[in-house]
């Protein structure tokens, strides 16, 4: 019985890895394939609307057709329902509210400098790029809703847009906190963190409790 159990445990480990891999694998059910379709759709929206410059955005690293984009980035689930963000990120292990939608913001900010029609040709034949006026409207709607900080969390933003926007480069702590709250993607873990902090009773209480438990 133990040998069978041992064999099962050996296969079991691969089962668990398989379990985890299946979470990452974009090539799954119809339901999730639908998400992938949406994701693909979103990218064609992005690229058509904003005119990504391939050289300074991480999104277009694999600068092939749109279908090729969805593949390496199919790991990203747009909502927080399934496993968390899979963007390769240095803070991923420690910080669940990685602003993955941060990439949308800098893309909006790169709007101003690259209306290059050559880039729009990446968008694919089915979606002609919207006019500059539409992108401007989109930008105004997003900017009116929340302030944009260009160099705020410097180690998180991969590309640094040097734009002539009217956003104020501020280091105000409140704005930083607001920025993090705006970009929270995994609400579950965020709420759990808030609750743990509340239960712990504050920063110093938690840390001193942990330190004293070491003794």
């Amino acid at each position: 019985m133990f040998s069978r159990l041992g064999a099962n445990i050996a296969t079991g480990r691969s089962f668990y890895e398989e379990l985890r891999d299946r979470e990452d694998d974009p090539d799954r059910d119809d339901v999730l394939r639908l998400d992938e379709d949406n994701l693909r759709h979103q990218f064609s929206d992005d690229e058509a609307a904003i005119g990504l410059n391939p050289s300074d955005s991480r999104l277009t690293v694999a600068s092939g057709p749109i279908g090729g984009h969805a593949r390496p980035l199919g790991n990203l689930q747009p909502s927080g329902d399934s496993g968390g963000s899979k963007w390769p990120h240095p803070d991923d292990d420690f910080d669940n509210d990685v602003p993955t939608s941060l990439l949308i913001e800098p893309n909006i900010s790169t709007n101003k400098k690259s209306h290059d029609p050559n880039n729009l040709s990446h968008a694919g034949p089915s979606r002609p790029g919207p006019t500059a006026q539409q992108t401007q409207e989109m930008w105004n709607a997003a900017a009116a809703r929340q302030p944009l900080h260009t160099n705020d969390a410097g180690d998180r933003v991969r590309d640094r847009p040097r734009s002539v926007l009217t956003s104020v480069k501020t280091n105000n702590a409140r704005d930083k906190a607001m920025w993090r709250w705006v970009n929270v993607t995994n609400l579950d873990s965020f709420v759990r963190d808030v609750y743990n902090y509340y239960e712990g009773g504050g920063l110093w209480v938690i840390q001193s409790t942990n330190a004293l438990q070491l003794l």
């Binding site: 989109m138 709420v191 963190d193 808030v194």
Partner: protein, 249 residues
Amino acid sequence: MAVLLTFLCQCVDYSKLPHSKSLDQVTVPQCTRNMSTVWNIGIWFYSFYFIWKSVQLFFEMRRLLQIRDFFVHLLDIPEQDMQTISWQDVVARLMALRDHNPKTAANIPAKLRGFLGSQSKERLDAHDIANRLMRQDNYLIALINKDVLDLSLPLPFLRNRQLLSTTMVWYLQYSILDMAFNRLGQVSQDFLRADRRGILSQKLRQRFIFAGIMNLMLTPFVLAYVVVVSFFTYYNVRFTVFTISCLFH
């Protein structure tokens, strides 16, 4: 604590204690050379554990600082209030912030929402927060409520009665919940697929067997631990019960 224990056990010569007057006469010089290997190994483990925990503490400080900023700046709860504020207050203030996050906001035009990629907004009211926090507990409660789990012992005296002890809860959590939920606390998609039921059920049975074996092996330690913890928890209550019963006699 490890230093103290080591000192007390290894470096003090107890046979000389009744005769000596100062500490210098009792301590064994260079006691670290003569320590038994078991003690040595214990100390090495403890030092590794200490280092690992302090590294973890350091990294947790960063995340705690971010949450603290959130509390202090966005929720307007200063540090002094953290010990006295109620959870309802925190939830109410959190709900006031909903409009800022694009995932939960209610006032975004449909075009921009489609641009962001999410189909519908995520709710963040008190009910929803409670659901998110208690997802695994609720799942376990539902399992027991629907009589999916059969917790009766096959002894003739105790048949048809369900028994749920603390350790049983632990084992259930290990075998069922760890498989159903992924690392972030969300239901793993693979668990819900109907076509993998055969493999999943076999895997579950394996987990149960493993938990049962671990139970047999670890019973004395676990029992001691549970007894000690319950003793400390209910210490005050026990003595008041005794005094009240003494008053009646």
